[in-house]
């Protein structure tokens, strides 16, 4: 009907449109490729440099002195596991319960202040948290310890666990809260039996990503858990951990230690990578079950 109107619009020749289209599409494609290739490049580089040192010994043996063949980082792998376990025991309950409070019960200026403080804490450089725990635990005790390292990582986990729990709970539609209350459930019952289960997939994912993040933290461990060439039993002695081991081995002048650092980097990255994938699968699986 509007031939006259259409002719008034500025029109470009079709070839021009095609050229622009192809050009912009290529740009976006290249940018997307760059994002992926950075990760693939790092992964490839780690494998290239570390794969030779990556064998069964790496997972089962202690580090050996310079010049000796073989040796591994079993103590660092176990140490990292212990540190993460302790960090989870501190960071997850506080973050989780705090998040439930913020999203469901906290109202007014106090919860605004808590949210803001959590965001600030999240922005504190990890080395500052390391110094803080050094002053709080290491100095009074006069020795480095697994416990201090776990506390440092735990403090780092709190704000992320808190905010992700808070966000996922607040994303649950209000109709579910009202639906629970309308059936004669109390507020607390509704939160525990409807709201938290509805947000569970998201909360678990947030915590796994959180764990993956602190697993690679080095700075807060340098003067808390310190490092150790041997097994560390219990929680009161200094312990080896993968990130600190990478740091110490990488700055050493020995070629075979460098290779071991690469291997440790590869193991760490693979662990984080697998945790991420597991978290994503968990979320998509949950969505499929809920029928979204």
């Amino acid at each position: 009907m509007s031939d006259s109107r259409r002719s008034k619009q500025k029109s470009y020749p079709p070839t021009y449109k095609k050229v622009i289209n192809v050009f912009m599409l290529s740009l976006t494609g290249i940018a997307a490729l760059l994002v992926v290739s950075v990760l693939l490049f790092i992964l490839g580089y780690l494998i290239w440099n570390g794969a030779r040192s990556l064998n069964l010994n790496f997972f089962t043996k202690l580090p050996v002195p310079v010049g000796e063949q073989g040796g591994g980082m079993a103590n660092a792998i176990v140490g990292s596991g212990k540190l993460l376990l302790l960090a989870s025991m501190i960071g997850i309950p506080i973050g989780l319960l705090g998040g439930v409070y913020l999203a469901e019960f906290g109202k007014g200026p106090f919860s605004l202040a808590v949210r803001y403080t959590a965001d600030l804490l999240n922005g504190v450089p990890s080395i500052v948290i390391g110094i803080f725990v050094y002053g709080l635990i290491v100095l009074p005790q006069h020795h480095f310890s697994t416990f201090a390292g776990g506390v440092a990582l735990g403090i780092m986990m709190i704000p992320i666990a808190l905010r992700s729990t808070d966000e996922f709970l607040r994303a649950v539609p209000n109709t579910l809260r009202e639906g629970g209350l309308a059936l004669g459930a109390s507020k607390a019952q509704t939160v525990v039996t409807v709201i938290i289960p509805a947000a569970m997939q998201g909360i678990v994912t947030g915590i796994m990503l959180n764990l993956a993040r602190v697993a690679g933290e080095t700075a807060p461990l340098l003067f808390t858990a310190f490092g150790n060439q041997f097994w560390s039993s219990g929680w009161s002695g200094p312990t080896a951990s993968l990130p600190v081991m990478i740091f110490n081995y990488a700055i050493s002048p020995y070629e075979d230690w460098h290779r071991q650092a690469w291997a440790a980097g590869f193991v760490l990255l693979t662990g984080i990578f697998l945790t991420n994938i597991a978290a994503r699968l968990l979320v998509s699986g949950g969505r499929a079950r809920a029928g979204h």
């Binding site: 629970g180 059936l183 809920a290 029928g291």
Partner: protein
């Protein structure tokens, strides 16, 4: 050229209900009051949302609340099960009696068990169909676990949903269509055996066929449960209600038996509204 229904159409429609559901039983002149509202005012902070309401909502009848958007009909509904208390800075003055007792004498949880509510948007819990129905029974400890299965079936049958879901009770409630989800929410509300069912525009998100099913269900429930339904749709109010209340700007303009109100409205504003002159 106007497509708004004339008063004449509404009269016909109200009669059409008799044709569809069979002749309604004669509405008794003085039914018992389920809720007695006296000099009730409602405030959101400083905003005076409901003005001096005085009315009696009859027991075991379907009462439709109509009025234009923002007239306070949903707010009024939320005062009846004290759901407004979840909204900060709200306040009620005057009195509402539930049966013989003041509403404030009940604990909110007991009150809400006896005065069930279904919302505008279907809101099944992210659980299985079975667990949705069982939810109210479980949190209120109303049913032994071995009776649970029968009870769930009974509720689904009562909500005319059993035949559609009996083979997939343990699938997610989200696998149902919107209309089925809404009937599931009604079944879920019925499970705790409420005396009253508050329906807040239960059909506004549904297509006409699903709406017809909900209306059939309301009609089936009308003598076993007091039903108070807020609706934007006057035709719906005419089809299903025994009594109708017309709200305008926070005031109750008229409350009467539906057949009387739709045929001989006593207030000029009511007549204007139901004939589509405004709103």
């Amino acid at each position: 050229m106007s497509t708004t229904p004339s008063l004449f159409d509404l009269k016909k429609l109200h009669h059409a209900r008799s044709a569809r559901f069979g002749d309604p039983e004669p509405v008794d002149p003085t039914p018992t009051a389920q809720f007695t509202v006296a000099d009730m005012n409602f405030f959101y902070g400083d905003f005076h949302a409901l003005h001096d309401l005085n009315l009696q909502l009859p027991e075991m009848r379907v009462t439709g609340l109509i009025g234009p958007s923002g007239c306070g009909k949903s707010t009024f509904l939320r005062t009846l099960n004290r759901m407004y208390e979840t909204i900060p800075r709200t306040r009620v003055t005057g009195s509402i009696r539930f049966g013989q007792s003041d509403l404030l004498e009940f604990s909110p949880t007991l009150l809400r068990r006896r005065v069930g509510m279904v919302f505008q948007k279907p809101s099944p819990f992210p659980k299985s169909i079975f667990d949705n129905i069982a939810y109210g029974l479980r949190v209120n400890n109303l049913c032994k676990s071995r009776d649970l299965k029968n009870k769930v079936e009974e509720c689904l049958r009562r909500a005319a949903l059993w035949d559609e879901v009996k083979d997939k009770l343990h699938e997610s409630a989200f696998s149902l269509s919107g209309g089925q989800q809404q009937r599931l929410c009604i079944a879920r509300a019925l499970a705790v055996e409420p005396d009253v069912l508050l329906l807040d525009e239960p059909c506004s998100a549904l297509d006409p066929i699903a709406t017809a099913k909900i209306e059939d269900l309301i009609f089936d429930l009308r003598r076993s449960c007091t039903i108070i339904i807020v609706t934007h749709n006057m035709l719906q109010a005419a089809r299903i209600s025994d009594y109708v209340g017309f709200f305008l700007q926070g005031k109750l303009i008229e409350f009467d038996a539906a057949r009387k109100m739709f045929q001989f409205p006593s207030n000029k504003l009511t007549e204007d509204y139901i004939t589509g002159r405004f709103g």
